[in-house]
């Protein structure tokens, strides 16, 4: 999921989406969370984690509301612990896997 040919300036403000957090969040949660639906505490937008704007070229990952840019989620992975802040999300509805 890499991309090429961007200057540092272009890359500075560039973001990925919540799909990019699937791996790091899957280390913490027993299920996939990218399909989980939440509401932004700031503007009320409702949608799945997958559509958040994720900035990872940082000391940690910051996921922002695609509508109002408020910080919804922060994830920092240290050597022996992961910090997860979800206070930007009203609540998270996490689908449990359907038997296939």
């Amino acid at each position: 999921m890499t991309e090429a040919d961007m200057t540092e300036a272009e890359m500075a403000g560039e973001y990925e989406d919540g799909n990019a957090l699937a791996g790091p969040l899957r280390e913490i949660f027993a299920v996939d969370v990218t399909a989980a639906v939440g509401q932004c505490v700031s503007c009320g937008l409702i949608g799945p984690i997958a559509i958040l704007r994720v900035y990872r070229r940082a000391p940690g990952a910051v996921a922002r509301c695609p509508s109002c840019d408020a910080v919804l989620l922060r994830l920092v992975r240290g050597p022996s612990a992961t910090w997860l802040d979800l206070k930007g999300i009203v609540s998270l509805q996490i689908p449990l896997p359907v038997a296939e």
Partner: protein
């Protein structure tokens, strides 16, 4: 004869761990993009659209990770990833050049549960790919084929030049089982000879087609660079496609 695909399940309840895979084979899709075929023991299977994270570690302990979409359904513990070599990249020159048969690679996954297509879904399905965004969408086409699905699929594939096409032969001369998969191309910098239109960016007219219009509510999957995905998603919503049926995956500036 194709093996039956292992039906994927979103693995639940098990800790996600780093597997160690080995390079079994590779295929160059273009002069700068290579498909890696990896053997991963104990692979739990995966769904079309999911990706993996890979981790590379230098002898002094320095390590870095990248994410790559799975390019095909699981086949007996064999995975396929297609990696684009980024000039001055840190990881892609290694994976497309140095990484050789038998070498190990740490892989975590499969991950991603939103941008997925399951064969049980009846279709129709509209796929829109920008550049290397074709990879997870190709996994969907290949999974459809392996599952003998009859779902109508339409792929709109935007690339800069014909030389940038991945899976060119497979898309150009589809195997049996791909009846019901329509493919159209958009070339943004240079077209094949005798192409009816000059190079241009994707337009609204490229998106809708017989059997895939907004009122049949196809499942839409759009993948590629952020700017491409935003433009296409906006076009689809503007055409009346249900936003909740338009799923997007953006490839971002992880650095190559």
């Amino acid at each position: 004869m194709a093996r039956a695909a292992v039906p994927g399940r979103l693995s639940a309840g098990r800790r996600l761990e780093w597997h160690v895979g080995q390079l079994a084979d590779y295929r160059d899709e273009t002069p700068t993009a290579r498909t890696l075929v990896l053997d991963v023991p104990d692979w739990p299977g995966h769904l079309a659209g999911q990706h993996v994270d890979v981790r590379l570690t230098a002898p002094d302990g320095y390590s870095t990770e990248r994410s790559y979409s799975l390019a095909a359904p699981a086949d007996d513990g064999r995975l396929q990833l297609t990696v684009q070599r980024v000039p001055d990249g840190e990881v892609s020159p290694y994976l497309t050049g140095v990484f050789s048969a038998g070498n190990p690679l740490e892989i975590r996954g499969p991950v991603g549960g939103w941008f997925v297509w399951r064969p049980a879904e009846p279709g129709p399905v509209l796929l829109v790919a920008g550049g290397s965004g074709i990879v997870p969408l190709m996994a969907m086409i290949r999974t459809r084929r392996a599952a003998n699905s009859q779902a109508r699929f339409r792929l709109v594939y935007s690339v800069r030049t014909p030389g940038d096409l991945y899976y060119a032969t497979e898309l150009g001369h589809p195997p049996p089982g791909d009846d019901g998969v329509d493919v159209s191309y958009v070339f943004t910098r240079a077209t094949p000879e005798d192409w009816p239109v000059p190079p241009r960016r994707i337009q609204v007219d490229d998106l809708h087609a017989e059997g895939f219009s907004a009122h049949v509510q196809p499942a839409c999957f759009v993948c590629g660079p952020t700017a491409f995905v935003e433009v296409v998603a906006n076009m689809l919503v503007g055409l009346g496609y249900d936003p909740s049926r338009v799923k997007t995956e953006r490839f971002g500036p992880t650095g190559g």
